[in-house]
């Protein structure tokens, strides 16, 4: 299957320094890819390069089989972008912003008007349609900007920090909307964000950028396999475990790491088959076990583990997270 997005050694620098350095990745159609990294990681530059807004210094990209640097206009007809700032003209009404964008995209007026009304209805903005954008909240603007990005039914949707500046309720609304978009028509979504919660909920795969360099790319489980061995499991003991219990588990064959958790312990085992043995051992030792579940690595766990590895490479110290503790040498975590 032809990739929806493909980059090879994509590089771009500005007068302030290198923004993206040799990015190589591939995104199949219908996938949601989270581009993760702190501010200045190169996420926005990537989005701009993939839409032909910026030209690469080196390397190449294809999006929907088109080269953004050469066929930018043809490509932009088939992609939609939600920029970090909603980018709406505050002097115009919500409806005018959408209709005029459609006209600027060269779409038929009658079709655009119908589509605008449908999108405003779907995004819960129908009652604000004729109010100047100036009088709308940040959350409403984001929804409106998302509607605008979907106006021409794009095959690839780029979302650059879609929830920045939103309160928790508006964040949930926008994530729900994006979640529903991801399942529509096999649309490919590139989600550039530094909010791991939204990325974890929406993304199939993740790409971690740091100072323009790609440090990890793949499904969280795949990346985790390269970062640490084994499988994590949570043992619910009804409260924090004592040192003797933790030591007993540590001495069990197949256990790699044991870490404290508020409701018991988190263990890393060589294989999930080890977990029933641990439960039996605990019960036989008189420790009540209220639950035991394998805990696949979350995107957040993997992201912080990658960040910790980057920090270690650069000789920086970071605040340890549960993933850091679990990826630490056996015996150091408890």
């Amino acid at each position: 299957m032809t990739a929806a997005v493909e980059t090879q050694d994509l590089t771009r620098s500005f007068s302030s320094g290198i923004a993206l350095d040799g990015l190589t990745l591939e995104v199949p159609p219908g996938e949601v890819l989270a581009l993760l990294g702190p501010n200045g990681a190169g996420k926005t530059t990537t989005v701009r390069l993939l839409n032909g807004i910026l030209r690469p210094d080196r390397g190449r990209a294809t999006v929907l089989g088109l080269d953004p640097a050469v066929e930018g206009n043809a490509l932009r007809r088939r992609t939609g972008v939600l920029t970090e700032h909603a980018g709406l003209d505050e002097r115009l009404t919500a409806r005018e912003n959408l209709v005029l964008t459609g006209r600027m995209r060269g779409l038929d007026r009658a079709w655009v008007e119908r589509r605008t009304d449908d999108l405003l209805e779907r995004f819960g903005m129908a009652d604000r349609a004729r109010i100047p954008v100036q009088g709308t909240s940040t959350g409403q603007r984001k929804r409106l900007a998302l509607a605008r990005a979907l106006l021409h039914d794009p095959e690839v949707l780029f979302l650059d920090e879609p929830t920045s500046g939103l309160d928790p309720a508006a964040t949930r609304d926008v994530i729900d909307l994006i979640g529903s978009l991801a399942t529509e028509h096999g649309r490919t979504i590139i989600l550039a964000t530094h909010f791991l919660g939204e990325a974890g909920r929406l993304a199939d795969r993740m790409a971690v950028l740091h100072r323009g360099v790609l440090h990890a790319f793949g499904r969280p489980t795949e990346i985790a396999a390269g970062l640490w061995q084994g499988v994590d499991a949570e043992l619910d003991l009804g409260g924090p475990a004592d040192a003797a219990t933790a030591d007993a588990l540590r001495a069990t064959p197949g256990v790699l790491v044991v870490a404290d958790a508020p409701t018991g312990l988190v263990v890393r085992v060589t294989d999930r088959e080890v977990v029933p043995h641990l439960v039996r051992r605990l019960v036989e030792g008189g420790v009540p076990v209220y639950g035991a579940a394998a805990k696949p690595p979350t995107l957040e766990d993997v992201y912080f583990a990658v960040e910790a590895r980057i920090a270690a490479t650069e000789g920086r110290a970071t605040t340890p997270t549960s993933a850091d503790l679990l990826s630490a040498p056996v015996g150091a975590s408890t």
Binding site: L54, N73, R76, A86, G87, L92, L100, T101, G106, A145
Partner: protein, 262 residues
């Protein structure tokens, strides 16, 4: 391109901070001033402008001195001295709007959305240029029509004839003024693409536009005294320079440059 211009013109129309000075200044210069001059000339006491005329260049003063005393003030002010305003107004309006073209989009954080449209770089440049040019010329021409109606109407009891526009006036309004406006906005659009805010663009552009305004003030009355072909040729020269600047600007203009500054 038409849709971008239409959208920008709607947005400009909604912006009171832009519309009010854009209309108030021309109304003052092109309607209120000729009205008062005409009323003053109709008054029972005829102002003596002989001393003023004696200080003016012979070519300008001679045809006025040949007129009846009551007509002299009207012809001097409404026929000659207000002429520079018809170059200044389109230059001023186009400069203000052109300064806003890209710098204003940056300020309002709407530039990136604009760059993501499937529009050629050159179309984007010309759309922004025309967004400044169309209102500037509209204000200038409508203002001139109002000026002619007011100046002739209010001076009718004294003049008993239509004294503006002359053929030279028409050359200046419909040929020279658009050329000067194009010249100014070609410079301003390029500055606007580099500036971060409209204010910065206006400040940078002021260094270019102000000397142009002084030049216009100094030369436009004189332009009404030269033979028609000379005035047309001067206009042609300004058009050549202006279009060369526009073409150069369009060639150099790229999305990449703008996006790198967002």
């Amino acid at each position: 391109m038409q849709a971008i211009i239409a959208k920008d013109l709607i947005a400009v129309r909604r912006s009171k901070a832009v519309v009010i000075p854009m209309l108030a200044v021309p109304a003052l210069l092109m309607i209120i001033m000729p009205l008062f001059i005409g009323l003053a000339a109709r008054g029972p006491t005829n102002p003596d402008i002989g001393r003023l005329l004696s200080t003016m260049p012979g070519d300008l003063a001679r045809p006025i001195l040949e007129l009846p005393a009551r007509e002299q003030l009207i012809v001097l002010v409404n026929g000659y001295l207000l002429a520079p305003l018809f170059l200044i107004v389109p230059l001023m309006v186009s400069a203000v709007l052109a300064a806003d073209a890209f710098a204003g989009e940056k300020e309002r954080k709407t530039l990136e959305s604009l760059l993501h449209l499937p529009v050629q770089d050159r179309e984007l440049f010309y759309a922004k240029l025309l967004t400044a040019f169309i209102p500037a010329i509209a204000v200038s021409w409508i203002g001139f029509l109002c000026f002619c109606l007011v100046a002739n109407g209010v001076a009718w009891p004294v003049m008993h004839r239509v004294f503006v526009p002359t053929r030279l006036w028409l050359v200046m309004i419909f040929w020279v003024a658009p050329a000067v406006a194009t010249f100014g906005l070609a410079v301003m659009v390029r500055i606007s693409a580099r500036a971060k805010t409209s204010q910065e663009a206006n400040q940078l552009g002021g260094a270019v536009i102000l000397p142009l305004i002084f030049l216009a003030v100094g030369q436009s009355s004189g332009l009404l005294l030269v033979p028609l072909p000379v005035a047309a040729m001067v206009g042609g020269l300004i058009w050549l320079v202006a279009l060369w600047l526009v073409r150069g600007g369009a060639k150099r203009f790229t999305r990449d440059q703008l996006a790198a500054r967002v």
